[in-house]
């Protein structure tokens, strides 16, 4: 019973902590020198540092950091949920970067107490993610790199937006877990991505960023597209799991898809690609995917499909 309540206290509605509070700890900005030894506490941070061109400064990453490929070869400092204090300290970093709400705040305080500079960035919305790029770039001494990255992603966003502009909005369910059904809610960068991709998140009005959805809610909201996380990409599976709820438009029209979770779910520099991926699933017809599985061949224009 003690175990259960600890879980409840520290893990459940983890997302609520991330996105409702969203504290951004700013590091001691008036530091003298530019950090040369960086430890990353999250895969999205690792990707960001590489994308900004500072991959060579990383001296420690989490065991979940697998992109880009070079990251896999970097020394590991523990896992995403509980990084190892000693290993981090041993690396003698100038800067440790974590994610507000995902990195354990107690662990962060301990790192600070060791005299190591640590900053937690907030990534609970698209704008916060983009800001985090600029912030990290500034910390690492090259604000221009941040601006460049933001521009690149903004351009990617724009491209997608133009592509899908003529298409009608489609109500969408984006699920990260199936048993139980964990869906993207409101106050979540993915909720924004869905909107940007021309979809309408059926759980978007929820105040929690992640929530368990009862099946009846999904049936009632009748999403036109269902997108599920999948390890690997077994295309046939997801359809089977919803196939008994034939009243759902997504099931009727065979718009149930899996996606590769890493690209889409990380609040890092690949959100532009993630957006495109989501948009391709919501509006396959706008991407000239002639063989879009089962989706009623529709033109990419507002035809009420």
């Amino acid at each position: 019973m003690i175990c259960r309540s600890r879980f409840f206290a520290s893990r459940f509605f983890l997302g609520t902590l991330i996105f409702v509070f969203g504290l951004a700890w700013s590091g001691n900005a008036a530091s003298e020198s530019i950090p040369r030894r960086i430890v990353s506490l999250a895969p999205s941070i690792t990707e960001t540092v590489f994308a900004l061109g500072f991959g060579n400064r990383l001296v420690g990453v989490t065991s979940h950091c697998d992109y880009p490929a070079e990251a896999k070869r970097l020394p590991k400092i523990g896992d995403f949920m509980s990084p190892s204090l000693e290993v981090i300290a041993a690396k003698q970093p100038d800067l440790v970067i974590g994610v507000a709400g995902a990195t354990d705040p107690a662990r962060a305080r301990e790192i600070e107490r060791l005299g190591i500079k640590i900053t937690l960035v907030s990534v609970s919305s698209v704008s916060e993610i983009l800001s985090s790029f600029k912030h990290i770039a500034a910390l690492l001494g090259d604000p221009d790199a941040g601006a460049t990255l933001v521009e690149k992603i903004t351009a990617q966003f724009g491209k997608v937006k133009r592509r899908i502009a003529p298409a009608p909005r489609r109500s969408t369910l984006l699920a990260v877990g199936l048993r139980p059904l964990v869906a993207v809610g409101g106050k979540n960068f993915l909720d924004e991505l869905i909107t940007l991709a021309g979809g309408e998140n059926i759980a978007g009005n929820a105040s929690q960023p992640w929530l368990n959805l009862p099946d009846e809610y999904v049936v009632a909201k009748a999403p036109q597209v269902i997108i599920q996380a999948g390890m690997g990409s077994d295309a046939s599976r997801p359809t089977r799991q919803w196939s008994d709820l034939k009243s759902i438009p997504a099931v009727k029209e065979r718009r149930v898809y899996t996606y590769n979770s890493d690209k889409i779910l990380r609040p890092g520099p690949r959100i532009g690609e993630g957006l495109e991926e989501i948009a391709r699933l919501i509006h396959p017809e706008c991407f000239n995917v002639g063989k879009s599985r089962g989706a009623r061949g529709s033109r990419c224009e507002g035809s009420g499909s």
Partner: protein
Amino acid sequence: MKVLDRKKLFLVNSILLALLVLSAAACTLLGPVRLDLSQALTHLFSSNPDAEILLRARLPRVLLGVAIGGGMAACGVVLQALLGNPLACPQMLGVSGGASLGGILGIIFFPNWLLPIASGRLGEISWIPLAAFLGALLSMILVYRFSLFHGRLHPYHLLLSGVILNSFIAAVIMFLNSIVDFYQAQGLLFWLMGSLSTRAYLTVGFIWLYILVGFLWLWSKGVSLNLITLGEDAAMYLGVEPGALQRQVFIASSLMIGAMVSVSGMIGFVGLMVPHVMRLLIGSDHRLLLPASFLAGGIFLCWADTFARILLAPAELPVGIVTAFFGGPFFLFLLYREGRRSLGL
């Protein structure tokens, strides 16, 4: 002399059964989503959203809730008799911990495996409940081996090995929780907090059969359970072979608990609360206490699940939280009362 007679047996169970049916009906009609009943009924077997909500989304979970609530309550009753302690509950034996661990390992390593049996109409059957049940079996065997001396299962050893096993499993689960990614961790919580979310009538039917058979068997042991609460020696003097009864009841209830946890995760407090409340209302004679607790447990869990669906709509609370929320304070109140009573206050 006020003792159990046929009239009381019939009356209490009839009332509870009626309440159960009403509750099940009400809980099927209630939910975070508004249900148009006339639509649902006229288009019952077509792909109509209201019909699907009624028949595919709600009814299976209400039925599952009734079965599991009843099963947990019945197991609570017999475990309290077995351990000679009115504060025992199904979670204590380590079986539910083993089932959780099995399920979690299944989620981590084989999250998408599905059994080949499954037709779209009856719903999908995942491999994970089987993994969980395997975990339950292993725990049961472990606790059994550690508690069996000269053919008897000593309550002290049962309790102790159950508690130790639970602690060990909790540690393993915490370790696993630290190595999975954030999104898998959400799924892990299901096992620890419970959920009655299901659309698979096949699973529901199977569990119903399983629990009904188990419950009927336990009910038939009502007299023996009365006697065993007098102590092993006294039970022997009155004609019961305690060793055989203990072994059989332990295995039966462990199997039931294992099956239930495999399907719906750990739902606590039903097995502790319901027997106690029923004891206060109708006495400790197991021939009445068992069926009454079974029915009352079904009523309780049915409503708990409805609250779980409605309270934070559209989000669904794990039903174990709702039962714990009501059960926790109640447990404390019980302890307080027991304490006063044992002190003769």
